[in-house]
Symmetry: D3
């Protein structure tokens, strides 16, 4: 029987400039819809699971377009509430070489940021569910969102659902102080925790090692130290992080690290020519959840998640549109990119 | 010496679907920037006047793109304040035949709606100015905007500047009650008033005649009655309205009526194949202001304004990009559309 | 409770030249998916019904894209079989003025044309269904398709489902002789029959009146005569036809005629500026089915269907993406096309 | 055996703004190649004749692109000389409704304008040819072009080739005085003369009647008077003109008049929704030449030419890409524009 | 005197997603036409030879578009038969980094696959020809195609034409067993044989060495062994293979190996950033044929062919649009890619 | 107080093929405007200086579009003369990997090439100016342009303006002999000289070292030798060159060398994935001028200029649209290209 996975969060209208244009140059924007947890849901739907995305969207044609967009890629939208003021928007300018991609957020006052607990029937939502995933973005949207997230977590736990979080600190949404206060409380419901050093420090207060993300170099010892602290404090089953080595906006190294409280396992590393790196982390979470919920062991799960998310970097838009077969081809060692006829 | 004209209001990011697509079908949006008073400013700049647009825009690349867009078309942007939360957005789906064009607004919380009087140095702005134009949209944005508008009007009058208003009632922004309260107070500063029957009723409380705009028929007697009441109450120098006969989203009749307190004059009527009717009214105001400030009599001014705005309907985007020569060719009777080689 | 409607037939990949280009000029094709019964299903989904489309599509990414496309617009794709050789394709060149639109079909050997009865579980499909719609295209695809259609009709009738047909004669698919043989047999299952004079003659052998469709003139007496014959022979509950007056590829008159065995009723006529007329007839069937299944009387149903399909002509692609509200605005007399803000 | 037709003149790079954009708005140009005589050659190639286009193009990739473009549409390019400075360019902004289309020429110093007689082997070119067509544009390009044209005419006549001219006065290229001097001399070689009143006056000095082309009205008596004068002076076999009624840039009436020295015959008139009217006159010449060279009588030829060129107005670009069958369908009365499946 | 080269095979409509989009994301397809032997013909035409492409295409506008497309790029289309059911189609999704490009074929029932020997007058076709090239794709299309190919080979040989083959095994078209049966028989007519290890094994039964193409590593000893076997069995004058090192879908190493029965020569290797690798092998064959037919020695020929085909990888579409000069610049060592002003 | 910088030269219409298409493949061109000194002006405007561009443009809509384009990006266009024959054009085909980008110029007879000294009021232009920049392209356009340049230089010097030149030899515009004669005379007015070895040899006659630019290798000793000679002969304050290592059309190394008569300083080197390298040198000049005029020392200035111009290579079009902050981020060592949220 297929697994029922619930994700909850914000889906935004993404407006991106075509062909490496800067914002000042664009006279059209490419339109997709995306957002952390929605991206995870799409990954899972592509892998064949029964993926639900829970959010609130305005009752206008742009809100409907977001619903249709999710539906197109196989996500179940039955639990999406409608109403509120607006859909959040983000503008994206795709960088190249040493020019960074740039994101301008216009997400305040969105329907989901102002949604009430009573917009959702969480008992119905989590009935028979196997997994619930959220990110640190959702509780950061507003105080109401933080309450909404906690309510969802409580009901999820009541239904015996496994919970994963992607810490995903967003400095435009809240301060580290606020983040720590809220996120620390939410961690009690979490089984699997995904987050890099910066996330761990900003949202949970764990002191990072000396990794300097702008240098593109990695120091694993810092991670290991933090992961042990996290395990001690919150008792997570798995703690996981992706390891991005940003050589430039065009080329990245990509791998991941998992800790099961006992053993650290680092995945194979991929060197990627980037087409679109937005949603890379979300596709990793999607790959990890798929693997664990379908019974892979934690090392296999990590390799699947890294390969899946490496492929995401080659696909335009927020969504990772790859099949299990395509991921497994890469996991099994064929990264030659030869034409499939 | 060229005339200095001040317009003040909101400029929005306009996102429109290409090629008659519905919102649900679009995977790109065409990008322009526009808004009532900005559109007037562009018209005037095209006609060779020294046109300033006063607004507040966020200090991010999208705000900068709006500034650059105005600059490109010759508008002076020196008095644009920078800061605040966001640029207003409107989504546009272009209709055809019996399918209406559809506008979805996402303009709340914009920088200009939340701007303070102290963001602007109105004495500097109106120093040496000849004309100030605003529309009923600006005071409708927020209470602060209404105060800002009144302050601008006071300083304009102090500097002996002629003032025109386009009543432009927007039901999504305020109620008729609120509109009447604010707009009635502002009318004391106004010399030239532009507005159709619906505007006159909703923003000033004048009872309209029996014109049913959805039928595409016109009844001028209602207008004449209202114009006389308006003249009596506010003492406007000229009262003007465009007369749109909506045969369909593709074809409109277009003419105008002016009243100088003495005589009613109706312009020539144009039957238009519409390319883009957004900004049609603004281009009319632009044509009227240009004509009056450069000394045409009120009948000539009306004919110029109607011809200019008829041409606007054939140009994509909010802005009317025609020259005085092009308008005069049409005023002088050549509507044959023959190729100009 | 929402109605469950089943449609069955072929959905094709549609490749159309952009911007009135001829085939020889195109270096890109616009991509949508569409086909008679699928188009009806989308109409019904837009109107809020539970619309299922039954077909067979190849197990490759293009087949999947067709599934996703239907899903995006709200059609339930659970009963779509996967396998077979290929998806049917049609190429479309959009005409203008006196230049006709041109369709090149490449639909032979499609998965649905070669589908077996055992690809579908018709008992499950028609369980609890309210309506079944098919067109004369489906049985024309192949002998197997004709058998498949008859099997579906039998099971539908067993479940007490109302059946409608759109006769839709396609001369590239079969001869009038073949059509008559097959279609006459299938008519025993049909309650509501839609078809114009040419369809009635070519697929059922009824002799048309003197309507010359290339002249753009209509003669209703011929229709009335044929409708009576059809009623006598097959006992349909309603016989319906659209009445297209082709002034040119850009402008058509559009109305319809219905006969309930007792009374002839002709709808209001719309003069349409055409954006895309493909799928016009299908959107009419969709409007009619929606109206009848939700309890409108036959005159109201006809007016709804004509207004809905008039709007379709203004929307690019095969699908009619309008809401019940939008149709009712037009039914209620507002065809002014004024901007909806 | 298929007929060999020679045309000679300039082919230019045409850069047009997409979607009714004004020049100031365009950030891309659509690219085609076209020019009076080249357009005629393409018409003839489409009709199945052996059409040669003679010109000179620069020896760079843009010149090669023009050659390939002609080749694509079936024109024989064997007699195109290569060399010289540049290809002529024209910029096109497509008008709508009362806004005229606008052409900006940048054609000075083109390879063909500076070509020498010795760039071409006219004896080889006209060997076995049936027809030679040129327009008043070619000799207007430069003095060298006028000489080149006369040389071509002499050799054509030596080979017994029928000669047609389209007078096509271009005020940006020469004065009426210069035109009259050159064109009057060239008329001795001409058998069939195409030109409207303005052309007849500006290039040959015949006084026009009272037709005011900007009014969209026609007065045939003026034409008849001029045609008789032309017959008397130059002894043309046929004198022909198209009759364009410019209701607007979007809608034109289109017919033609022919005089065989004995009888005036006016064609059927078409009312056209215009997609692209550039090349309309050239496609008329193409239709006329095809008809006459393949043996139609002068009335049939006129009807064919008018129908062919009416269809051209619905096709983007300079070229008329219609087949003989498509033209004959329209000649035979089907202008309904119904979908051809 | 220029050389006359005949190529024969299938040209398909190629529909590719723009900008690295996956099939599910595309709402337009880029349109080109291409196919193994047609691609070779275009290469040769670009190099200045008299290149003929022999195929059969349906008598509809899409078939005509393919003809025009070839004509545009200078290929002689006089020997293309018209008729049959359809043009073959292939869908292409361009990969990046570790995501492979994906090809979906829809080529069954094409006009050429069902063509008869009597559709072609091979005596006329090969009269005066210097070279005939075909690939293993053509006989794989159908049994009739295999017969057609053999007939062409017989007549070619009768006319003393040099014959080259590109083995090009396509697993979707036939089994190795079938391929071996057909291809082994055809080899008797072949002078120059191009093919990699996989081709040699699947179509001719030669056992490959240990090269694992998915690893991007090369082992030349295997090739040398096979080439000697091939020489022994079929007596080819030259045996040639390209050596592709697939580092990823974005980056490949590219070189080639030739054997004249005496000496093995390996070319310079190019590291390529790929724009479009489809047609890479065909452009190699084109470069090789050009070089050999114009008298280069086998080493020069190999270097020319490798450089030409390296350049192909940087050009969108199937066709290699480079000149002899451009290839020679690269052969002579300038791969700096500096701007040519 | 912001600095006033004058640049003078030609701005051209740039027509480039989209997406790596070759000229033969393009059916649209992307449109921007650019040219050496205009590109410098835009850089400076982006950095916040008061940048004026002096040129002459035709009095037509294409000329106006160039003016508006400059205005959009903040350049002051008050000193642009209008009139003359045409705007210069250049066609650009963007290369990839070992395929070079290709530029086809069509710039003869441009308005600026034929401009008179009396088209400009240089005293007004240089009043209060801080810097004047020109390139070797401007005097190369024509003899009149050389005179115009010298006149500008004289007046600039009269007003005490600092002068920089970018030698920029263009072999299509003049011979080395002509260049040396003109440029040597102009050097007396120059304070800062930018140019690579080829420029130094062709325009000033200094013998280059052994650097072979097609090999992508650098030899600094040659530069040092030449720089000393240049210092000796002309007494420049700074002599500067960029050092481009062309690995391929897709990847370049990029650094620079400066000499202050005392010390040689070589900048950090960047390895760049190229999006658009046209205007790279101009953006370097812009960065250098900005740095020097705002008081950076020569080493800081060089680093700023190199970083600024490295970023240019990642932006489509001729213009460098980066801010001082963005450049400083790179100068300060963050080339990781991480997403800026």
């Amino acid at each position: 029987m297929t697994k029922k996975i619930i994700t909850m969060g914000e889906i935004m209208l993404r407006l991106s400039t075509p062909g490496y244009k800067r914002f000042l140059q664009a006279d059209s924007f490419d339109v997709v819809y995306g957002g952390g947890e929605a991206n995870v849901a799409v990954s899972l739907a592509n892998f064949g699971l029964d993926a639900y995305f829970v959010t609130k969207l305005p009752n206008n044609p742009i809100g409907q377009a977001a619903v249709n967009y999710l539906r197109k890629f196989g996500v179940n939208t039955d639990f999406i509430a409608r109403g509120g003021e607006r859909i959040g928007i983000y503008f994206l300018e795709t960088g190249a070489s040493m020019r960074s991609s740039k994101v301008v957020y216009d997400r305040a006052h969105s329907s989901i940021a102002e949604a009430d607990i009573k917009d959702f029937d969480f008992d119905e939502i989590f009935m028979g569910a196997d997994w619930f995933h959220f990110s640190g973005i959702t509780p950061a949207l507003s105080d109401k969102s933080a309450e909404l997230t906690e309510e969802a977590l409580k009901v999820a736990k009541k239904h015996g659902v496994i919970v994963s979080v992607d810490l995903n600190y967003r400095k435009k949404l809240w301060t580290p102080e606020k983040a720590k206060k809220v996120m620390t409380r939410l961690m009690q419901y979490v089984d699997i925790c995904i987050g890099n050093e910066e996330d761990a420090e900003k949202t949970l207060g764990f002191k990072p090692g000396k990794t300097d993300v702008t240098k593109g170099k990695l120091e694993l010892s810092g991670y290991k130290d933090i992961f042990k602290q996290m395990k001690d404090k919150f008792g997570f089953k798995y703690i996981v992080t992706t390891l991005r080595e940003s050589y430039s906006a065009s080329d990245n190294g990509w791998s991941a690290l998992i800790y099961d409280g006992n053993e650290f396992y680092r995945s194979r590393k991929y060197d990627i020519r980037i087409v679109d790196r937005v949603g890379g982390g979300d596709s990793f979470a999607g790959g990890l959840i798929y693997s664990l919920v379908t019974g892979k062991n934690f090392k296999e799960a990590l390799e699947f998640a890294v390969a899946a998310s490496a492929l995401k970097h080659t696909i335009p838009g927020d969504f990772n549109l790859v099949s299990v077969d395509e991921v497994m081809t890469l996991v099994n060692g064929d990264s030659s990119g030869r034409v499939q006829r």
